[in-house]
């Protein structure tokens, strides 16, 4: 038997087939007639046109038939969509947080991960939460998608039915790294899942500085592993000598506490060589002084 990767696949694909089927029928009909007429009644072959008056019966036919067809299409589209709204009681709840430009997943019990691992055949409800702008949470293989809207928590649910890895995309445009805001769903057996979950660190176990960096979406631009995203990586940043442009003049500075605080509160004052003004906005008022301290403590650990 055909089982899709999730419980919705079958229903949705059926609607696709229905609409595409009707669509192709009309497309071939119309194109076929058009080409046939163009050849059969070509001016060379048929120099004098016949004037045909309107035909009311025909008009009525092609008003009513398409109306019936589209209402059918509506109905089937609606019917296959209905189950996506009603979440089963026994669903596992996972909180999905979208931020520029990363997903994170919080499991019951406060454990956090950067990929979505799910036990097979267990319905899950994802509570979608955004900290900055609108993102789109989409798993094409599961036929599900929902926007992740700041200030309004949407949800989605599904039941994974096949083991394997599936792509997660961010489908709502959210800035520079929109196309890299992906992740994976890994569908595993119930046993593997329990093991995996137990090995996850608790969300509260992470250094406070990191939490603040995540909350303010710094890590969308600054990586922590040395790779270059939008800007300089945080790895090894503290204590290194940086070339910056201040008021149009190039100079070298040591990255220390004051410099970092200045970079966050007045990013446009010292521009790191090779970057543009204005990309990073000021966080003055958004990140408090004591939070800055925690960030710096954390940055020190990133050697």
């Amino acid at each position: 038997m055909y089982t899709g990767a999730s419980n919705f696949v079958e229903g949705v694909d059926w609607v696709f087939k229905l609409i595409f089927g009707i669509g192709f029928f009309f497309l071939f009909l119309i194109t076929g007639m058009m080409i046939y007429f163009a050849i059969r009644y070509n001016r060379k072959r048929h120099p004098k046109a016949e004037q045909i008056k309107d035909n009311i019966a025909l008009e009525i036919a092609w008003i009513t038939i398409p109306t019936i067809i589209v209402i059918l299409m509506f109905y089937y589209g609606y019917a296959a969509f209905q189950p996506m709204i009603w979440v089963p009681r026994d669903s596992m709840q996972v909180k999905v947080t979208g931020r520029m430009w990363q997903w994170s997943f919080e499991y019951p019990g406060g454990r956090q991960a950067n990929e979505l691992v799910l036990p097979i055949n267990q319905p899950v409800k994802l509570n979608l939460h955004s900290v900055d702008v609108i993102h789109g949470f989409s798993i094409p293989d599961f036929r599900v998608k929902e926007d992740v809207v700041p200030g309004k928590d949407n949800y989605m649910w599904f039941k994974p039915q096949r083991l394997g890895d599936y792509e997660i995309f961010c489908t709502a445009y959210c800035g520079v790294r929109h196309s890299y805001m992906g992740s994976k769903v890994r569908v595993v057996t119930q046993k593997d899942f329990t093991h995996w979950l137990a090995a996850l660190p608790l969300a509260s176990a992470e250094p406070e500085g990191l939490t603040i960096l995540k909350k303010n979406a710094c890590i969308g631009c600054h990586s922590m592993d040395g790779s270059k995203l939008v800007s300089v990586s945080f790895k090894g940043l503290f204590g290194k000598t940086e070339t910056v442009i201040t008021n149009g003049k190039q100079r070298k500075v040591m990255v220390d506490d004051t410099y970092i605080i200045a970079s966050v509160y007045e990013p446009d004052k010292d521009i790191v060589f090779g970057y543009q003004k204005g990309i990073m906005k000021s966080y003055k008022g958004l990140i408090k002084e004591d939070e800055m301290k925690k960030i710096i403590d954390y940055l020190k650990t990133l050697k």
């Binding site: 696709f16 119309i30 009644y41 045909i52 509506f74 200030g151």
Partner: protein
């Protein structure tokens, strides 16, 4: 011939008769025909810019990863591409070029109701365009929001959104004034014997369009003002941090922008409705059905905007209501398609370039429209929303529909506008390139869209590479076709065109080519039916 009734005292509108000469005469003209050409030139220029931007996106997408510019540039480029194509080309597009040039002649008028306002609209259009251009260079970098300006991204990004939004606002104002002008023209300036039901179908389409322009555009106007307010004063309507609602922005945006897609397509349908009877030498089938379906599209088209927001978290009740209404608006389009095809039945069909474009229109529009139905259905839209499936849908409808209708109309009225003929063989070759290139370019995007490839993606997974490459090659073929077409049309040679090269029946073909400055010295004779071929 009509030559005799127009002696030397009535030189063509292309000849300067007033005090001013040359470019000055053009920039101060109030003649609807000259204003149409002003628009035509400006739109051509922007089209070439927009098209080149499109080609660079295709080149960038040829392989996964970065080819020759980075993600920020890519985002800025699709934003500008969308802005130019939508606000500068297809929304005004056919209305201002053909609506201005032939609509008044078709209803037997000498000009539009407010000629000076008409010129003023053109200046507003240029001003709006200039502001959009400025937004690219001034300030803190070109806007990167996509043409939809979705809040809260658009209220947070550091790029130059305010300028771009103001540009769009001014363009909207220009569009409103044109709409007012055309509504009054059609009500007041029809030649005495021409009742509404003796009016050709292009004016009907322009009339329906004008109403949408007048009634929908103010909503986007106020919405764009709110975006500016949001950025400058933090008024908070769309900012969740201040209690606003980002989804409200989407409602307001689409309340305009969905009707706007009918602003684009209705005049295009009007043009097709003129071309098909002429080249089939047959009266149009179902005149009233076509006329009323224009009004129906305009009317129902107001109430379907929610289909852009099925995944936004809108209430489930609203979702199904909008889905149902979306399906209903497809019916009048279907009526038109059936009537066009039936008009060809037992006609005497001449496959000249305008007719080829019209047939390509029907084919491409049908594909675009039928995939629109896939998006209107709830279950399936969830899958294809914000993927390249959508990109393919609207390029099929906008470029394949509106664009091909524009090119068809251009080939149809070209002899009338300039008094010269183009090379028909070359025009056919260009059409061949355009048609093939077009399908190669956008068809693969349906396929990868179904597989989940999101839109507005600078980079993609390796499994989409082949389709993306076919798509890019198609883009280049399309480019070649357009270049051939443009060169063919605007070569400075070409024999003199007869007054009625295609055997059309509407009033513009009874005037000399090109028409005199004053269209009709005496009110024209109107027969019973605008499409009386015998």
């Amino acid at each position: 011939m009509t030559e005799e009734s127009y002696p030397i005292a009535h030189p063509s509108y292309l000849v300067d008769t007033g005090k001013r000469k040359g470019i000055k005469a053009w920039l101060t003209t109030c003649d609807h025909k000259r204003i149409a050409l002003l628009y035509l030139w400006s739109i051509m220029v922007f089209f070439i810019i927009g098209a080149i931007l499109g080609e660079t996106m295709r080149t960038e997408l040829f392989r996964p990863g970065q080819q020759f510019y980075g993600p920020q540039t890519y985002n800025a480029i699709f934003t500008l591409h969308g802005l130019i194509m939508i606000f500068l080309i297809v929304i005004p597009g056919l209305t201002v070029v053909f609506g201005n040039f032939v609509m008044p002649i078709m209803i037997g008028a000498n000009d539009v109701a407010f000629p000076r306002l008409n010129l003023f609209s053109w200046y507003l259009y240029i001003l709006g365009a200039a502001v959009v251009v400025v937004s690219q260079f001034a300030g803190s970098g070109p806007p990167d929001t996509g043409w939809t300006f979705y809040a809260p991204y658009s209220t947070q990004t550091h790029t130059n959104v305010i300028a771009a939004v103001s540009g769009a606002f001014i363009l909207g104002f220009s569009s409103i004034l044109t709409g007012i002008n055309f509504i009054v023209t059609i009500h007041r300036l029809r030649t005495p014997k021409m009742t509404f039901f003796k009016m050709p179908l292009l004016p009907w389409a322009v009339y329906a369009t004008a109403w949408i322009q007048v009634l929908a555009t103010p909503i986007i106007g106020i919405t764009l003002l709110m975006i500016i307010g949001e950025r400058v004063f933090r008024i908070g309507f769309f900012d969740p941090a201040l209690g606003g609602d980002p989804i409200l922005y989407q409602h307001l945006f689409w309340i305009y922008s969905h009707p706007a897609v009918y602003i684009m397509i209705l005049p295009a349908m009007g043009v097709i409705t003129e071309i098909i009877p002429t080249f089939s030498q047959r009266r149009i089938f179902g005149y009233k059905a076509i006329a009323f379906s224009s009004l129906a599209i305009a009317g129902v088209g107001y109430f379907v905007w929610g289909h852009h927001m099925f995944t936004s978290g809108m209430s489930k009740e609203a979702i199904w209501v909008f889905s149902l209404l979306t399906f209903l608006v497809a019916v009048p389009s279907a009526i038109k398609v059936f009537n066009w095809v039936t008009t060809m039945y037992k006609g005497s069909i001449d496959l000249k370039p305008p007719m080829l474009y019209a047939m390509a229109f029907i084919f491409l529009f049908t594909i675009g429209g039928l995939t629109g139905l896939v998006q209107g259905a709830l279950a399936t839209d969830i899958q294809v929303h914000d993927t390249s499936f959508i990109v393919a849908h609207f390029h099929y409808i906008i470029f394949g529909g509106v664009g091909f209708a524009f090119l068809g109309g251009l080939h149809y009225w070209y002899p009338k506008m300039f008094g010269r003929l183009y090379n028909i063989r070359t025009a056919n070759i260009a059409w061949g390139f355009l048609f093939t290139g077009f399908n190669l370019l956008y068809f693969p995007q349906f396929v990868i869209g179904l597989e989940g490839m999101p839109r507005r993606y600078f980079d993609y997974l390796p499994q989409f590479t082949l389709s993306q490459q076919i798509s890019t090659v198609g883009g280049y073929l399309l480019g070649i076709g357009l270049i051939i077409m443009i060169v063919n049309l605007f070569r400075k040679s070409g024999e003199k065109a007869p007054d009625n090269p295609w055997g059309g029946k509407t009033l513009e073909w009874q005037l000399p080519s090109p028409p005199p400055e004053e269209n009709f010295s005496t009110p024209p004779n109107v027969s019973d039916f605008p499409y009386d071929y015998d």
